[in-house]
Amino acid sequence: MTTSELRLAARDLTCIRGGRLVFEGLSFEVRAGEALVLTGPNGAGKSSLLRQIAGLLEIEQGEIALAGGDPELGISEKAHYAGHLDGLKPSMSAIETLRFWAAYLGGGDDAFVERALEAMALAPLADLPVAYLSAGQKRRLSLARLAVCPRPLWLLDEPSVALDAASVGRLRGFMAAHLAQGGIIVAATHLDLGLANARELRLGREAAA
């Protein structure tokens, strides 16, 4: 993976949801090792933008391109998306969940799974069914998924929701490590995650006015 030339660029993006114009003419560029923090009021289109980058939402106008990495793969296969929904199954244990995603996403072996559990301090809970985890623990498990399969672009929608102070600190380290390896993070957040090398993109017409 040639992460040195990694670059995410959006040009003239427009998003329309349910007939309502959410944002238009949005352009930005993020380079390897940089984080873009999306801020703005509720309904400004932070989540929509993340879903557009992930390929989960139609792009009305404009384009998004990710340069660098394997040219055979589309953006959605080079990106991790962590949205509001955790995507967990109550009857599967934490370790089963991570093993499944490692296998499905084409990630690493069990060593990766172990390391992902460590990174989010979930090792003691590995064999517990997800149904018994608290909201914060579920979130941590959902975020641990990012570590089982290395992908250069992380798209995080309110990653710190439901996390306690210690876990937010862990998340900060987790994200900083990804940036240090030359990855890109685009995150929507209301909380200052205190990342070095982060730029802010403010969305929302109310905010601009």
Binding site: A54, G55, L56, L57, E58, S76, E77, A79, H80, Y81, G83, H84, L85, D86, G87, L88, K89, P90, S91, M92, F100, W101, A103, Y104, L105, G106, R145
Partner: protein
């Protein structure tokens, strides 16, 4: 890609087999429906024998509809589907994997239960192999056709009824040839007509395998973007 496909099939089978997964639901529904038929039509053995193939197939179709609506909906609701669609598998193969898992947890147990219920309906033992054979060949078609209905109604709350209405007309050929294979044996044409019905049933399964996942993936894209 193969690793991802197998992982998805294995996960879906395990989820369905677990508590709340609805794996055993279809079989118990099938048992209930067929078990109350003799109570309704009376214990007259020739009548039951006459009704047996049709009742078994109708019960099987209805039972396989029962768990259909959750095929994609469960994953869409908890956000897993977003992540699945960002994996290495195209949505068509995701649909194949899910249909296959649906068949293993729904179709296969129904086929296993059918001979037992056949005895209950006084189906002659010599027709059991044909019954099981026809159901084994025909049931995969139900899952592959059903995937299209499940995908079309993925955004609809309580979409099970809608999916059933959409899908049931396309189940009818399977029903006709499935019953035909068993009835032919009763008419004494065992060799040829029964075989033809089985072949047609196999053709239906292969056609649904080719078309169903494409239709399901297209419906999912249209619904979720």
């Amino acid at each position: 890609m193969r690793r991802a496909f197998l992982a998805l099939v294995a996960r879906d089978i395990r989820l369905a087999a677990g508590i709340g997964g609805g794996g055993g639901m279809a079989v118990f529904f099938f048992l209930t429906v067929v078990a109350i038929v003799p109570l309704g039509v009376g214990p007259d053995r020739p009548v039951l024998e006459l009704l047996a193939p049709g009742m078994l197939w109708v019960g099987l179709l209805l039972a396989s509809l029962l768990t259909l609506d959750r095929m994609f909906q469960a994953d869409v609701e908890d956000g897993s589907f977003d992540l699945l669609s960002m994996g290495p598998l195209p949505l068509e193969l995701v649909a194949v994997a899910k249909s296959l898992a649906h068949w293993v947890v729904t179709g296969l147990p129904l086929v296993v239960a059918a001979p037992v219920l056949g005895i209950l309906l006084n189906l002659p033992p010599e027709r059991m192999p044909l019954l099981v054979g026809a159901m084994l060949v025909g049931t995969p078609a139900l899952s592959f056709i059903g995937a299209v209905g499940a995908a079309l109604t993925v955004g609809v709350r309580r979409g099970g009824l809608l999916a059933s209405l959409l899908v049931l007309p396309f189940y009818i050929p399977v029903l006709i040839f499935g019953v035909g294979a068993i009835e032919a044996a009763a008419g004494g044409f065992e060799g040829q007509v029964g075989m033809q019905a089985l072949l047609l049933l196999g053709g239906l399964t292969l056609a649904s395998f080719a078309i169903g996942p494409l239709g399901a993936a297209a419906a999912l894209r249209a619904n979720l973007r």
